[in-house]
């Protein structure tokens, strides 16, 4: 364990190998089964990674180790980015949100029960094949774009997609910025994000907020709380009078990466800002899915979860 206090030192330590650890909720769970061996670079004392800053245009910069609970409860963030704070408030449990960070949420590994089980090996742990594809993949993807069928677990990524947010990372000593959408490769069966082992995600950058925005987050689960969603959806609508000026809709639990749903967005823009517009906008979603034998139920569930989130965002 190393505990650097500034970003450069943390980045330098990471380049030597191992994993960064912030809240530790994902790393420690994997370490318990031997799936994360370390060494671990603790980010908790790197002051420059924590907290929320605002620029002159009202855009937020959220440090990578800002906790999910802090994001959920921040009044200024809630005002500017309601889809983000609603998502943060709904994920995991209070204890996990209290220590889990936005960076960790974006870079966490997938929840596939084969990947997490030390008895199995697959693309994701350096092995070959996907036991879930041949086996029981009821929690798997419904857009089949990669040799791996584990959906990406980051709820916050879906929320950040609807804001066109970017992430800042230190890679080989250089600071670079990339869109959240490019943090993930839906075709990649071996990794859950594109950052290299030595890269350090330092912040999430949001654009200035839009006026007249309404937003919502929904997840489909069997139990009322504390469950990874079968499907989750986040919607953000900017309206002018009774018309939708712009719409951004993203979904999780369905693909190797959180996905935007451009056809749904296009169907909404220019139309009435009314919940009754939702059903038609989502009607084509099942047809665009490529379900696995065990995830056919998700095609309709994706449609209906997005419909639900839109009805709320348009209300």
């Amino acid at each position: 364990m190393s505990a650097p206090t500034d970003v450069a030192a943390a980045a330098a330590l990471l380049e030597r190998g191992g994993e960064a650890r912030a809240g530790g909720t994902d790393v420690m769970a994997r370490a318990a089964t031997g799936a994360a061996a370390g060494p671990f670079t603790d980010l908790g004392r790197v002051a420059g990674l924590r907290g929320i800053e605002w620029d002159a245009e009202g855009a937020a910069r959220i440090g990578a180790t800002t906790t999910v609970a802090r994001i959920a409860a921040d009044p200024a963030l809630r005002e500017a980015y309601p889809a983000l704070t609603a998502t943060a408030a709904a994920l995991a449990t209070p204890q996990i949100r209290a220590v889990g960070t936005i960076g960790g949420n974006l870079l966490q590994r997938n929840r596939c029960w084969y990947f997490r089980n030390p008895a199995f090996s697959c693309h994701q742990d350096g092995g070959e094949g996907c036991p879930a594809r041949e086996g029981d993949h009821r929690h798997g993807t419904v857009f089949d774009t990669s040799p791996c069928v584990a959906p990406h677990p980051s709820s916050l990524a879906a929320a950040l997609l609807v804001y066109g947010a970017r992430v800042e990372a230190v890679r080989s000593g250089e600071t670079s910025v990339l869109p959240v959408a490019d943090l993930y490769d839906p075709a990649d069966g071996a990794r859950d994000h594109v950052l290299a082992a030595g890269d350090l995600l330092t912040a999430v950058l949001l654009p200035p907020p839009a006026a007249g925005e309404t937003a919502a987050y929904r997840r489909a689960t069997a139990r009322s709380r504390a469950e990874w969603p079968m499907v989750e959806a986040v919607a953000r609508v900017v309206r002018d009078g009774g018309r939708v000026v712009s719409a951004a809709v993203a979904a999780g639990g369905v693909a190797r990466a959180p996905v935007r749903l451009p056809e749904v967005e296009a169907a909404l823009v220019g139309g009435a800002a009314d919940p009754s517009a939702a059903a038609e906008a989502v009607a084509g979603l099942p047809g665009r899915c490529s379900p696995l034998p065990g995830t056919r139920y998700k095609a309709a569930l994706l449609r209906d979860t997005v419909r639900d989130v839109l009805e709320r965002a348009l209300a």
């Binding site: 364990m1 209070p94 569930l301 639900d308």
Partner: protein, 862 residues
């Protein structure tokens, strides 16, 4: 790495290790429990600078310079601790410290923001969403947290808590087997088969001596593993890391055999044989409490084992009704998923040998039975075996008898010359610690033109992995009189882990099918489902429940007819009953020690409240105050007590305690010290007096002689229950939310009101898990259990349970001394069926397969 824990400085040697380990082992603060190790269940919750965090996922490095508060640090007089004790917001107590710590932080925050007002159920559920209580004490938890927020417990009310050991459990002082870390102990781990079916050619343990480890073989004579995860041997070493390293150094040569990994494949001709011959079949374990009824085998299918009343008539009537297309014939195939007990305390044992005496601290439902079995196995006189289980973190049937964890720990302790501790991790607990077998059940039920039950046929196939003994169909003999019926049970064995008895074994899957069929016929007869059951059910005790239920606003004002909105409500009903079992050998000893009465019996409290039952009886009989009676259970010894299974603890020890108390009073009277009520002076004068009470005999005696070494007899009469359940169905996203539940219980006199109510509430909660969420899933290619963590094996959380109203019908058991029988099992058997009938009422769709997942519901309602 320096931190502060409960105000004291502490140092963590390994910054990468989970904080829970430092707190429990390093600092001895064992109130903090580790149950899932994955941040799901919340049992390990501590406050870090006042914020709740899951210490199992928190690296010690995160504690640097911070202040940690554990349950011990709350001091015992936090309003939440008082409220949990007063509202009996706990049963086994294993999850309680985590709940208490989180609720304390929530209550303090809530009051700071809202003043002394009660939060609603949703606010409490949001705050406690990261905690799981397997006993299902949520009703009390809601009440306790709300009350603490109002300030009702700011002062010590001085009221006696409804449960004898409440104070120990809310403070984290209660000690469980998993809290045992004796001086110089070694840690053991199991080496399990990675393949589903193989002959073990050889086990090479040559590397172990060099690693300072010892091992013991667990495979038995035929050297065959029949499921993935089957323990092959156990190894122990001075540390867990060393034990793991030693386990990894064992080389096992498996000659793999073809495996049958699901019941469909296993039942086909030519399928790989789980048991190749009669000898192997005879050694098959049973998933049942009793030995399996003999039956024939055909390949992997065993059975049928049949029972009935006028079987030929039943079959003929059903066939004729089918031929004529009689709409009063309902026939369907139902299925239930494998349900895993999931006690939050895993199977655990610490064993040590000392001068030819064996000391075992185990998480067990049977201290007495375990001691007897151990004495027999290791050839010891019974008085040289000492089994202890002062507190047990849940069992539900999975922790009876001499478990493999105890066998391994005892053997290894002898080899190591040191105490050996063996604790299952959550993956082991969810994979190979017993389960309720799945079932497939074909049921046909015919109502006659007169509206009576004309005929019933049931064929059921149990899915118990390598175990046999499914008797789901047989349970259909217990309800609705003696109308013609034929019931037949089968097992379909596969290369998967064995089942074991689970609260209401066989009854819960039978009720799933039977109570839905009754509901369906009520619908076809155009009759109220409660009225029909009242007519068909000959049980007078349950008749009283029907009358009460029929008058409930919940029932009378239920929505009827088709609904159209997204959220639809329905109310369903289901009846259950359960045999009355007792342990005629149970004894309770009372001794006057230090001016108090100490009650002793070799039973154990796994959350049922048996300590409280004994204390109540003794106090009531002798007229004593709370401080004058102490109950010591959880130790094997000369006073035999019942195992906690078969709903028989209370009805066995209650009368024995009464008998003992009456003997004590008579003895005191004989000495001229007066009888009951007993004065303090009288007790002082009787120091050292010792009497033993027996389980007095029922009027007309039990139905059957006692079996299993005299500890189980079947008594006369059946305990009954009726559940009226209201649900709300989200027809868009497929979830089912139970809103309200009325649970009527006909088990006679209630010995300890609040703990009994709590257990009945827990029965509802577990039934809801069975109905909606719980499903063990195995890998189709290897048979490995995929749901081996609490994220994927889903038990109900606090937000998933209805508001529960328990009603006791207290009459009808006058032939039993004490006037009451057990209720642990009957209170869960019919719950899932009541949910199904409510879903049917809300949506028009009848769920035939458990659990009722959103995917199934959405497909079903179309």
């Amino acid at each position: 790495m320096d931190t502060t824990v409960n105000g004291e400085p502490a140092t963590a040697p390994d910054p990468d290790a989970p904080a829970a380990g430092l707190i429990r082992e390093g600092l001895g603060l064992t109130g903090t429990k580790v149950a899932c190790g994955q941040g799901v269940c919340g049992a390990c919750t501590v406050l870090v600078d006042g914020e709740p965090a899951a210490s199992c996922l928190l690296p010690c490095s995160a504690l640097e310079g911070r202040s940690v508060t554990t349950v011990e640090g709350l001091g015992g007089d936090h309003p939440v601790q008082r409220a949990f004790a007063a509202h009996d917001a706990l049963q086994c107590g294993f999850c309680t410290p985590g709940f208490v710590v989180e609720a304390a932080a929530f209550t303090d925050r809530w009051r700071a923001e809202h003043g002394d007002t009660a939060p609603g159920r949703d606010e409490i559920a949001d705050a406690l969403a990261g905690h799981l209580c397997r006993c299902g004490a949520y009703q009390g938890i809601y009440a306790a947290v709300a009350a603490a927020c109002t300030g009702a417990f700011d002062e010590d009310t001085g009221a006696e808590p409804p449960r004898a050991e409440a104070a120990e459990k809310v403070t984290g002082r209660a000690r469980y087997a998993t809290d045992s870390y004796p001086e110089g102990y070694w840690e053991a781990v199991l080496v399990r088969s990675p393949v589903p079916h193989a002959r073990v050619r050889s086990v090479d343990t040559g590397a172990l001596a060099g690693l300072g480890a010892v091992h013991t073989d667990l495979l038995g004579e035929d050297r065959t593993v029949r499921y993935t995860g089957r323990p092959v041997l156990a190894v122990a070493a001075p540390t867990r890391a060393a034990a793991r390293a030693a386990a990894a150094a064992v080389r096992i040569d498996y000659e793999e055999l073809p495996a049958a990994l699901d019941t469909e494949q296993a039942g086909k001709p030519g399928a790989p044989q789980v048991y190749p011959d009669a000898k192997a079949r005879r050694a098959a374990p049973s998933s049942n409490e009793a030995a399996a009824v003999p039956a024939r085998w055909q390949g992997n299918v065993r059975g049928p084992a049949g029972l009935g009343f006028r079987r030929g008539t039943a079959v003929r009537r059903i066939n004729e009704a089918h031929a004529r297309g009689d709409r009063l014939l309902f026939a369907a195939e139902f299925s239930t998923a494998v349900q895993v007990h999931t006690p939050l305390e895993p199977h655990a044992c610490t064993a040590r040998w000392d001068g030819g005496e064996l000391y075992v601290e185990a998480s067990t439902q049977t201290v007495d039975g375990l001691a007897r079995a151990a004495a027999q196995r290791w050839g010891l006189p019974l008085d040289r075996v000492h089994v202890r289980a002062h507190h047990v973190g849940g069992g539900f049937g999975a922790k009876a008898g001499l478990g493999l964890e105890t066998v391994a720990a005892v053997e290894l302790a002898r080899l190591a010359g040191a105490p050996v501790r063996l604790v299952f991790d959550r993956a082991e607990e969810l994979s190979d610690a017993g389960n309720r077998p799945g079932t497939r059940t074909r049921l046909a039920m015919l109502a006659g033109a007169d509206g009576g039950l004309s005929a019933l046929t049931v064929d059921s196939w149990g899915d118990g992995g390598v175990s046999i003994g499914s008797s789901t169909a047989a349970m259909a003999m217990l309800l609705y009189g003696r109308s013609p019926r034929r019931v037949r049970d089968h097992d379909v064995v596969t290369n998967r882990p064995p089942g074991s008895p689970f609260r209401g074994p066989n009854g819960a899957p039978m009720a799933w099918a039977l109570e839905q069929a009754v509901d369906e016929l009520a619908d076809r007869l155009g009759e109220d489902p409660i009225a029909l059951r009242r007519r068909w059910d000959g049980n007078p005790k349950r008749r009283a429940l029907y009358d009460t239920a029929a008058a409930l606003p919940l029932w009378r004002e239920r929505p009827r007819g088709p609904q159209t909105g997204r959220f639809r409500r329905g109310v369903g009903v289901a009846a259950s009953n359960w045999p009355y079992l007792l342990d005629p050998s149970a004894r309770v000893e009372l001794a006057v020690e230090d001016g108090r009465v100490v009650a002793r019996t070799a039973t154990q409290d796994i959350g049922t409240g048996v300590r409280t039952v004994i204390a109540r009886v003794v106090r009531e009989e002798l007229g004593l105050e709370a401080d004058q009676v102490r109950v010591e259970t959880g130790d094997s010894g000369p006073v035999p007590g019942p195992g906690a299974f078969g709903s028989r603890s209370t009805t066995s020890v209650g009368p024995a305690a009464r008998d003992a108390a009456r003997s004590l009073a008579a003895e005191l009277a004989g000495r001229g010290a007066g009888g009951a009520p007993v004065t303090r002076e009288a007790l002082k004068s009787a120091e050292g007096l010792r009497v033993t009470g027996r389980r007095t005999r029922d009027r007309r005696g039990p139905l059957t002689p006692a079996v299993n070494g005299g500890v189980v007899a079947v008594g006369r009469g059946l305990a009954g229950a009726l559940h009226v359940m209201e649900v709300e169905v989200d027809t868009l996203l497929g979830s089912v939310r139970p809103l309200r539940c009325w649970a009527g219980v006909a088990s006679g006199r209630i010995y300890a009101e609040r703990p009994a109510r709590n257990q009945a509430e827990g029965g509802v909660v577990q039934g809801i898990g069975y109905a909606l969420f719980e499903q063990r899933v195995t890998d189709p290619a290897t048979g490995a259990v995929l749901t081996d963590n609490l994220e994927d094996y889903r038990i109900p959380g606090i937000g998933d349970v209805p508001d529960i109203d328990v009603h006791f019908h207290r009459e009808g058991w006058e032939h039993v001394p004490g006037g009451g029988v057990g209720l642990g099992e009957v209170t869960t058997v019919g719950v899932a069926a009541s949910v199904a009938n409510a879903v049917r009422a809300a949506t028009g769709w009848r769920p035939l397969d458990l659990p009722i997942t959103p995917a199934r519901l959405l497909a079903g309602i179309g």
